[in-house]
């Protein structure tokens, strides 16, 4: 029940974002998300609410560090 999944924002109406991942569509509330997402952003979705916008740049950087040297410098 703690499951939270990243989903892509396809449209926004007031306080609700319509999100989608792998063909699964959903509507989520934006009352507690850390910052307002834009269409195309990924948000972490849990129990009908968006919790946070995924930081793509951080994600890509982590990956690059994994690829370059297993990312261990990242965490020092």
């Amino acid at each position: 029940m703690c499951l939270a999944v990243p989903m892509e924002v396809v449209s926004i109406e007031d306080n609700v974002a319509h999100v989608e991942v792998g063909g699964v569509k959903n509507s989520v509330r934006l009352d507690i998300v850390d910052q307002m997402p834009a269409v195309g952003d990924f948000v972490i979705v849990h129990a009908g609410f968006a919790l946070r916008c995924l930081d793509r740049q951080e994600g890509l950087e982590t990956l690059k560090l994994f690829q370059d040297g297993l990312g261990l410098e990242l965490v020092k």
Partner: protein
């Protein structure tokens, strides 16, 4: 592009695994405290790939599993009243002290609706104004703000038929209790990614500072988990315990202040009892004065059956990492997912259920 796929790259996973194998020359026990980690570690095969020296323990990371008997008996008592209950599906089969469950109550005529969110439960109340609706509010810091936000909306609305039964639990105080328990033997902690999305890193600092336990906030893809285990292992070997955020794409060090604020506006911390861990100071949430009108306990005064110890079920020891599920005498003979004796076998995220599904 969905970034998650990249964090499953088999080639990168293999390279991290090789490093872990290389360093695992003495026993190392790490614990995760998140149902999604439990499932991911089994499902991805990580459990079977880790070297023998590395043991994985599932701690108190599944909200359903740590819900106390008294709380279960309380919502079962509510089910006997003229109330419509709205719940996450996970609670349906959790057995109460007398073997009843919401599922059985439903078969006997109780009104129980499975909802996907607290907000859906509020909608149910709005659409059925003549019926009292109670939402069963379980979950950690990830879920509590969604309930708080829903109550803020409810407070602005007309209706007076929506209530919640607060049973939330907070993760850092439970880790404090675990770390202070001399019987707990854990060399490193994998911290729950989504709880941390809300709390940030600060509430975990005491693990390294006061207890010398290395801890890493981890994501849920195989690469995230392997990487986090490797970081834990390194800190353990080098005797340099620290608390590290290895899930930066989803967790800001300061967490989500907006969600924390909403949660703190509606709830305040209270002492609460966890299954298996007992009473833990400041580890639960009760409604603040302004929101007490939504409290189902206040409104309906349910009289729960007194909890009795469940003979044989060793969930408590499983949750503390003292035994693995197969060491419970009831595991897989008397207690199975089809006929669960304890909550650790009910929820798919429970340690016993995961062991049953993936190890047998």
């Amino acid at each position: 592009m969905n970034l998650s796929n990249e964090f499953r790259d088999p080639d990168l996973c293999r390279r991290v695994l090789e490093q872990i194998q290389h360093l695992a020359d003495s026993p190392f026990r790490f614990m995760e405290v998140c149902g999604t980690h439990t499932v991911s570690i089994f499902q991805s095969g990580i459990k079977s790939l880790l070297p023998e020296n590395i043991s994985h323990l599932s701690g108190p990371g599944c909200p359903v599993c740590v819900t106390h008997d008294l709380e279960v008996n309380t919502f079962l008592a509510l089910a006997k009243m003229d109330i419509r209950l709205a719940t996450f599906g996970d609670l349906m089969r959790v057995p109460g002290s007398r073997g009843e469950s919401l599922k059985k109550a439903q078969a006997e005529g109780a009104k129980v609706d499975i909802v996907y969110s607290a907000f859906d439960a509020l909608q149910l109340a709005v659409n059925n104004p003549s019926q009292d609706v109670v939402f069963l509010a379980v979950g950690f810091e990830t879920t509590a703000p969604t309930v708080a936000a829903t109550l803020k909306v409810a407070a602005q609305q007309q209706g007076d038929n929506f209530f919640v039964l607060p049973m939330h639990k907070l993760v850092p105080p439970a880790l404090q209790a675990l770390a202070s328990d001399p019987e707990t033997r854990v060399d490193g902690l994998l911290l729950p990614g989504h709880v941390s999305t809300i709390t940030g890193i600060e509430p975990y600092m005491f693990l390294a500072g006061d207890h010398n336990i290395p801890a890493v906030i981890s994501g849920f893809e195989p690469l995230d988990i392997l990487q986090s285990v490797l970081i834990l292992l390194r800190m353990h070997r080098e005797k340099t315990p620290a608390v590290i955020n290895n899930y930066k794409r989803a967790v800001a060090d300061q967490g989500n202040p907006r969600a924390m604020e909403v949660m703190q506006e509606v709830f305040k911390p209270v002492d609460t009892a966890w299954r298996g861990l007992g009473n833990i100071p400041g580890s639960g949430l009760s409604l603040r004065k302004e929101y007490l009108g939504f409290d189902a306990r206040e409104k309906f005064q349910p009289a729960p059956v007194k909890p009795e110890a469940n003979p044989g079920c060793r969930c408590g020891q499983v949750l503390k990492g003292k035994i693995l599920p197969p060491q419970c005498p009831l595991f897989s003979c008397v207690c199975t997912p089809a006929a669960p004796v304890g909550p650790c076998m009910v929820s798919t995220e429970g340690s016993c259920a995961a062991f049953f599904k993936y190890s047998l």
